[in-house]
């Protein structure tokens, strides 16, 4: 997967996180931890559901590790890696 594809995933996640948090997508920084942006358990599960619908990846059953899920950037990498392994 090339850099451009990761960028597309990241931009898509920024839009989704902005919608969940009712924020302007321009204010969403991909490197800021989701909990610092005000995301809670419910919002996070909503995001995982959107990821399943968009990318056909069910992440709830994975370990939900901090390294993979803490920021939009790390989450984009996780999704990219799963797509690559298919």
């Amino acid at each position: 997967m090339d850099k451009e594809s990761y960028k597309v995933i990241e931009e898509s996640l920024i839009r989704e996180v902005a919608a969940i948090l009712s924020k302007d997508p321009g204010l969403i920084e991909p490197e800021i931890p989701l909990h610092e942006m005000g995301m809670d358990s419910l919002g996070f599960v909503e995001l995982l559901v959107v990821i399943e619908k968009k990318f056909k990846i069910k992440l709830m059953e994975s370990g939900l590790t901090r390294n993979d899920f803490r920021t939009i950037r790390s989450l984009s990498s996780k999704i990219g890696a799963v797509e690559l392994s298919r």
Binding site: L42, G43, F44
Partner: protein
């Protein structure tokens, strides 16, 4: 004169507001007092009760909505009748605390406040102030007909902002449409909720504690964790449940703790059914939707056979949460409940019990994230903690409530007096602390 839908003298009730009226009716029937709660602001230093009383009176008189009451339109849509500005004073009682008084004594006094009936159908908030010995507690008992837990905090936060001279919130207009259109959407949502509830309910009655006889008040235990302990609990939640999975973790810990008591009493029939209230608003929407209830629910089922296995329990709760978010059960409950507004509270109370064979739930659970009271002060005094003392709807009459204030976690056990023994109360708290990893 015909009141307009967006009139200043009325605000239509949503389906969830009506559901709260039903729970209020059921709770009054069983206990003599309604579905009320209390938010307690603990501050450093003694307070001037006269000054607080005056400031609260001035503020609350600007919001006649707090003295409203239920009524119905000619088309039967229920609404909150907002009277003209109030002239009478707020209810406020004060208690002097002795130096070094134990928290148990303070809690007993606070319990008295939250278990006291409002004076009449127009009173929905009352204040109790405990002060002396270098610390004070400002408690606002509130009717859930008027506020959910976060709104009660936000209302006091608004008072503080006015006190600080930062903002003036007078002449607010709160509107809600009558929701008398798009019936097919509501019926379809009702169908989905019905199917989901039947599936969750299963064939057996949920596992419940028997209700004590007579009209009893609620008892409370408050576990307040310091900043370091709260951080340790968050870390444990992350390690055991995953990133941002605190709510499922806290719920699993609560089921695990209560399971010990059921097992100890030899109650072995049925599974656990737990309604979990969730806020349906974003943080910035709180001040725009300051009054009434902006919550919906997840309904979790914990198999009795899984309840002693924490990891299995956690996995099942996470899966159910995911499935219910995916099918938008909380959204469907909001839509479907709009259909129920036609039914009188007494009838609807009976209908709700049909799903769960005469019961409602095993216990109630709620996790209110960070407090909506953002100021570090109450008037001039530094806040040391904010916690809630909710009277749980009866049935089930018992619940566990997690809430955060100033990066400190509070866990509150609330139950109908006589439902648990002193030993059982201790077992629950010890088990919760142990499960959260902060013995």
């Amino acid at each position: 004169m015909i009141a307009l839908p967006y009139s200043k003298s009325k605000r239509h009730l949503t389906g969830i507001d009506w559901l709260v009226h039903v729970l209020n009716h059921m709770t009054i029937k069983e206990t003599g007092a309604g579905f009320m709660s209390q938010v307690v602001i603990e501050v450093a230093g003694d307070v001037n009760t006269f000054e607080i009383g005056n400031a609260l009176n001035t503020f609350i008189k600007k919001h006649p909505i707090v003295n409203g009451y239920f009524s119905r339109d000619i088309n039967l849509a229920p609404y909150w009748k907002i009277p003209p500005a109030k002239k009478s004073e707020i209810s406020l009682d004060t208690v002097t605390v002795k130096e070094g008084e134990s928290f148990d004594v303070i809690l007993k006094s606070l319990e008295k406040g939250v278990n006291t009936l409002f004076k009449n159908k127009r009173e929905h908030i009352a204040f109790h102030i405990l002060t002396g010995g270098g610390r004070s507690y400002i408690a606002m008992t509130f009717d859930h007909l008027l506020f959910d837990a976060r709104n009660a905090e936000a209302f006091l936060n608004m008072f503080q902002k006015e006190w600080d001279g930062r903002e003036n919130f007078g002449n607010m207009v709160f509107t809600e449409p009558a929701h008398l259109s798009r019936w097919m959407d509501k019926f379809k949502a009702g169908q989905r909720v019905n199917r989901a509830f039947i599936k969750i309910a299963g064939k057996a009655t949920p596992r419940v504690f028997p209700l004590p006889s007579g009209k009893k008040g609620f008892k409370f235990r408050v576990l307040s964790f310091g900043r370091k302990e709260t951080e340790a609990i968050a870390e444990n939640a992350f390690n055991e449940a995953g990133y941002l999975m605190f709510m499922p973790y806290a719920l699993a810990a609560s089921v695990y703790a209560l399971h010990e008591i059921f097992t100890g009493r030899g109650i072995s029939s049925g599974d656990y059914v737990i309604p979990v209230s969730i806020d349906t608003r974003k943080q910035e929407e709180i001040t725009k939707q300051l009054f009434f209830n902006h919550v919906s629910f997840f309904i979790f089922k914990a198999g009795a056979s899984d309840a002693g296995n924490f990891q299995g329990l956690l996995k099942s709760i996470k899966e159910q949460m995911y499935t219910q978010v995916k099918s938008d059960l909380p959204g469907d409950i909001c839509k479907a409940s709009l259909l129920m507004r036609i039914a009188p509270a007494s009838l609807l109370g009976r209908l709700l019990k049909l799903y769960f064979k005469g019961e409602i739930a095993s216990f109630c659970f709620s996790y209110v994230g960070k407090t909506a009271y953002t100021s570090p002060y109450f008037m001039e005094n530094k806040i040391t903690n904010i916690f809630h003392m909710p009277r749980i709807p009866v049935p089930p009459g018992i619940g566990i409530f997690f809430q955060q204030s100033n990066e400190k976690l509070n866990v509150i056990l609330s139950y109908l007096d006589g439902m648990l023994s002193k030993d059982e109360e201790e077992i629950i708290l010890t088990s919760l602390k142990s499960r959260l990893g902060v013995e």
